[in-house]
């Protein structure tokens, strides 16, 4: 039983991990593409090397957008964790399911309210960070 819960947790973790990995890879690629070749060309012409160009031109231009995507992924993952918890029987989703099936609607609604508060809190924090960096 003890080992079982670890397997379930790992499965939930992996589900979110691979989803995020795929999405972020794509989003970062697009962001780097958007930086464009102009500053890269300029730094090449000064004699700068490959890593100079990455760290002095590409990353400074693309970093705010990348952080923005990262924050979006954190928000999404926290929301999704509830659902994954219900499906794999772990975490906050499991608590909700447990109270719900025991007809303990008071406790179940407390869980729902907690989830809503957490999501709102995380979103406002990430919006705050976004305003500062963009």
């Amino acid at each position: 039983m003890q080992a079982d819960i670890f397997v379930k947790r790992r499965n939930g973790y992996l589900a979110l991990f691979f989803g995020s990995l795929g999405f972020l890879t794509r989003a970062f690629t697009e962001t780097i593409d958007e930086v464009g070749s102009n500053p890269v060309e300029a730094l090449q012409a000064t004699g700068a090397g490959y890593f100079h160009i990455i760290f002095q031109a590409v990353l400074p231009s693309g970093m705010p957008q990348m952080i923005s995507w990262l924050l979006y992924m954190i928000e999404t993952n926290i929301r999704d964790a509830t659902l994954v918890g219900i499906l794999t029987g772990t975490g906050i989703g499991f608590s909700f399911q447990l109270y719900y099936h025991r007809f303990d609607y008071h406790a179940a609604s407390l869980v729902v309210i907690l989830i809503v508060i957490t999501v709102i809190a995380i979103e406002s924090i990430s919006n705050m960070i976004r305003r500062v960096i963009l």
């Binding site: 012409a45 000064t46 004699g47 090397g49 990455i54």
Partner: protein, 261 residues
């Protein structure tokens, strides 16, 4: 001895039409050369072949006594530090400040680690500040480049080229996106750099009257070939027609301006 010498330079992007066909000329130290010609004539290609942003298909390019078309990767970086470049769209990193963009001109001299971390010596910072002051940008040193006007951005571009301590600066349409007043300021700065610091200038231009006013020498390019090479005085209306093709009678060119101001 010539600082830059091109011998029979040829460039093919595809097998059918050459972008450059047997281009040969030599440029002395401190000379202000202007390259004019219609769009697609090969002006930008010619400029980028000189610092090997584009590889030539055939021919030889000598810069400062080195055959630049043959040098290997590490020496190519060293070669490029001696050649500054200025672009039509300024090509700055907009999110960084003026001083950071200017210091990018020093990257060619730095080791990988120092360049990646952006560690510049005190001398380099003083030099960058001096150049910024020379170009009249001392109020904008710590301003981000996306807050600057077009003329100011181009001056940052010139500053970035100057901190390289170059022997030659290549300018690819430096004033094509600027208003007449900013254009004049930029061209005056380029002329000053050439005369005061003895840095060779090769400037691609669309405006014939600007070329006539500033250049010591004009090279006309059409369809990858040099069709004119001489002083501004030798560039008659007839020669301009040769450079720009048959419809040039309808072009908006006022060579009379060569006598103005």
């Amino acid at each position: 001895m010539a600082l830059l010498e091109l011998k029979n330079v040829t460039k093919y992007y595809n097998s059918t039409a050459p972008a450059l066909a047997g281009v040969s000329f030599a440029v002395r130290k401190g000379e202000f050369v202007s390259i004019i010609g219609p769009s697609g004539a090969g002006k930008s290609t010619l400029l980028r072949c000189i610092n090997r942003m584009i590889e030539v298909t055939g021919g030889e390019i000598y810069f400062d006594g080195v055959m630049s078309s043959k040098v290997k990767k590490k020496d190519l970086r060293k070669l490029r530090t001696k050649i500054g470049m200025i672009f039509q769209h300024y090509n700055l990193v907009d999110r960084l400040t003026v001083i950071e963009n200017v210091l990018h001109g020093r990257l060619g001299y730095k080791s990988t680690m120092a360049g990646v971390l952006g560690r510049y010596s005190r001398e380099e910072k003083m030099q960058a500040y001096g150049v910024i002051q020379f170009l009249g940008l001392h109020d904008q040193v710590y301003q981000r480049c996306d807050q600057l006007s077009g003329g100011q951005k181009q001056r940052v571009g010139i500053a970035r080229a100057l901190v390289q301590n170059p022997k030659m600066i290549l300018c690819d349409e430096p004033i094509a996106s600027l208003d007449p007043n900013a254009s004049r300021i930029i061209m005056d700065h380029l002329k000053n750099v050439a005369t005061q610091m003895g840095i060779t200038m090769i400037v691609n231009l669309h405006q014939v009257n600007v070329a006539l006013k500033y250049a010591d020498r004009i090279i006309g390019v059409n369809q990858g070939r040099i069709v004119f090479d001489g002083s501004p005085n030798e560039l008659t209306d007839g020669r301009i027609a040769d450079i720009y093709g048959s419809e040039s009678g309808e072009l908006i060119i006022e060579p009379g301006e060569r006598n103005a101001s």
